[in-house]
């Protein structure tokens, strides 16, 4: 439970557009990205004090019978009490389910990964891609950070190359043949808006109030907020998901405004992912001396 002092201070300062960590209302926290230099598909993202590690792994499995041409893709979100004592290790709370579902809806159900591309032999062998997201520290914004890290890891991941000879599938070692990246159809980015209202229910229903909204709430702000909205979009200006589970009612025009505002952040985050991956790719290329292996290289 949060003290009355903190609640009062938070609401009052938000009314005046001030946040504790001196951010602006529409400003995200600083992001630090660590990409594993050795393997493909392991990233750690720190977003303010929130931290998440994501690993992507691939295995060959039998496809579902009703979908013989599609690979299997699953996202597994684990929020242990290492992140915060708020989360129980043994019981799965409502928050955890919601966070997992929203991330899954944003990425898996929006077809961010091309499943047909994961097919090896129709009906018998497909790639099974498993994403494990572990939240290491919690300071709000698990949905935003989680989906960002998962998308980054998916774009970074490369599965071993395969070839088929007489119905026998050969998996080539990563050192033997260049591994192949997943086919990512689009990059969804989740943005969470938190709503705060210092007004009573009657005042809200009468409609002479204005909601205070803030992006990327910290833990304390999440405790105080009266409602939240998750907007998932991609760089192609497609709206993928809108999720608002209860909380204060908001104006339709505000929804449009927030969507428009969010586009800038979506662009920025998508570009950030691209730049980080490009940098990593370049470093690997230089470290592995891959220039020597190119077709036109002097040997």
């Amino acid at each position: 439970m949060i003290s009355a002092n903190e609640r009062l201070f938070l609401i009052e300062s938000l009314k005046n557009g001030i946040r504790q960590d001196s951010r602006k209302l529409d400003q995200l926290r600083e992001t630090h990205i660590y990409i594993s230099p050795e393997e493909y598909g392991y990233v750690e993202v720190s977003w303010g004090h929130t931290k998440v590690s994501v690993r992507v792994s691939a295995a060959i499995d039998k496809p579902f019978e009703d979908r013989p041409f599609e690979g299997i893709f699953s996202i597994n979100c684990d929020i242990s009490s290492m992140a915060s004592q708020k989360f129980d290790n043994y019981k799965v709370g409502n928050d955890e389910v919601l966070i997992g579902r929203i991330i899954e809806k944003a990425i898996r159900r929006s077809n961010a990964v091309d499943l047909e591309n994961l097919c090896i032999v129709a009906g018998s062998k497909v790639w099974k891609i498993q994403v494990d997201a572990n939240f290491l520290n919690y300071d709000g914004g698990l949905i935003d950070v989680g989906s960002f890290a998962v998308m980054l890891a998916l774009q970074h991941f490369k599965k071993p190359d395969i070839s088929i000879e007489d119905d026998v599938v050969i998996v080539h070692d990563v050192d033997q043949r260049q591994p192949v990246p997943l086919s990512i159809l689009h990059v969804p980015v989740c943005l969470t808006y938190s709503f705060f209202t210092p007004y009573t229910r009657e005042q809200i229903l009468k409609g002479d109030t204005e909601e205070i909204w803030a992006m990327d709430a910290t833990m304390k702000e999440e405790e105080v907020r009266d409602g939240m909205l998750v907007i998932t979009m991609n760089k192609n200006r497609e709206l993928i998901q809108l999720s608002k589970n209860g909380g204060v009612p908001i104006d339709a025009s505000l929804l449009v405004e927030l969507g428009m505002k969010g586009m800038q952040e979506v662009d920025r985050l998508t570009d950030m992912m691209r730049d980080v991956l490009k940098k990593d790719e370049k470093e690997r290329y230089e470290r592995g001396n891959l220039k020597l292996l190119e077709v036109g290289a002097a040997r």
Binding site: S3, N5, I11, E12, N16, P198, R201
Partner: protein
């Protein structure tokens, strides 16, 4: 003075024969063998008095989980009432402690304090036996007066710090953090050893008294308190938040960065 890190399982290389030994946090005496051993990892502190008759032994380390000890000064948040006792939360997601309604100065059965959920109190841990509920009190047991304990009003901001930082602020009279902060603004502070700090710069958040009274008569709990919106209140609000930001940052920086961090914290407004 040599500083040594010890972990549980190490032997304490201190003399306990012929010298009166007081053990502090992190040290355990085996009741059977009367041997003194470390029970938590940290820096070993041994303080011997000049005559070589008394010594104090304890370990010091950083931790997040607060374990109440008798005579600790803590800041707690009221989370409920059981009979004649308040349930007080000293840390999020940890076991609540009890605060008797009689543990206030001049409290009687008829004249009880009226605390609401969410309000904060400054109190002393009066009893900390692990097997039973821990009790705190808002009264100085020697004088029977408030002794600085009691309700912390809502004009101040409460934030969390690491336990070792709270100890440093509370027990080290020569610490530089509060002095540095005082060079910038005027403030009132209450430090709980459970890692909570209540701070107020200037007048903090001013709550209009008359409005609050009116609402109490209306008995409408949903209506939030009206807040004084004069221009100076914003300044104090900002200063309070900045001071909290500064102290939070102080946990992680080196002393030479202190001034820089101070300007940074206050500039951000």
């Amino acid at each position: 003075m040599s500083q040594r890190i010890i972990i549980p399982g190490d032997s304490l290389s201190i003399e306990t024969e012929g010298i009166k030994t007081s053990i502090g946090p992190g040290i355990y005496k085996n009741p059977k063998s009367q041997k003194v051993i470390p029970s938590s990892a940290g820096i070993l502190n041994v303080k011997v008095n000049k005559k070589n008759t008394n010594q104090v032994v304890y370990t010091d380390s950083n931790s997040k989980r607060y374990i109440p000890q008798a005579n600790d000064f803590v800041i707690g948040i009221v989370v409920g009432v059981i009979g004649e006792q308040y349930k007080i939360q000293l840390q999020e997601y940890s076991t609540n402690v009890l605060l008797s309604m009689m543990a206030f100065p001049n409290a009687t059965k008829k004249n009880r304090p009226n605390l609401k959920n969410g309000q904060a109190v400054y109190a002393r841990v009066s009893q900390a036996i692990p097997e039973i509920d821990i009790e705190i009190e808002c009264i100085d047991p020697v004088t029977g007066k408030d002794g600085g304990f009691g309700l912390l009003d809502e004009s101040g901001y409460i934030f969390d710090v690491n336990l070792n930082f709270a100890r440093e602020l509370l027990f080290n009279p020569s610490n530089i953090f509060l002095e540095t902060l005082a060079s910038r603004c005027q403030f009132e502070i209450a430090i709980g050893i459970n890692g909570k700090i209540w701070i107020k710069c200037g007048d903090g958040l001013k709550i209009d008294k008359d409005e609050t009274k009116d609402e109490k008569e209306d008995d409408d709990e949903d209506t939030p308190r009206k807040v004084d919106t004069s221009n100076s209140y914003l300044k104090d609000l900002k200063a309070t938040l900045a001071a909290a930001r500064f102290l939070t940052r102080c946990q992680f920086i080196r002393p030479e960065e202190l001034d820089n961090e101070l300007t940074e914290a206050f500039r951000a407004n």
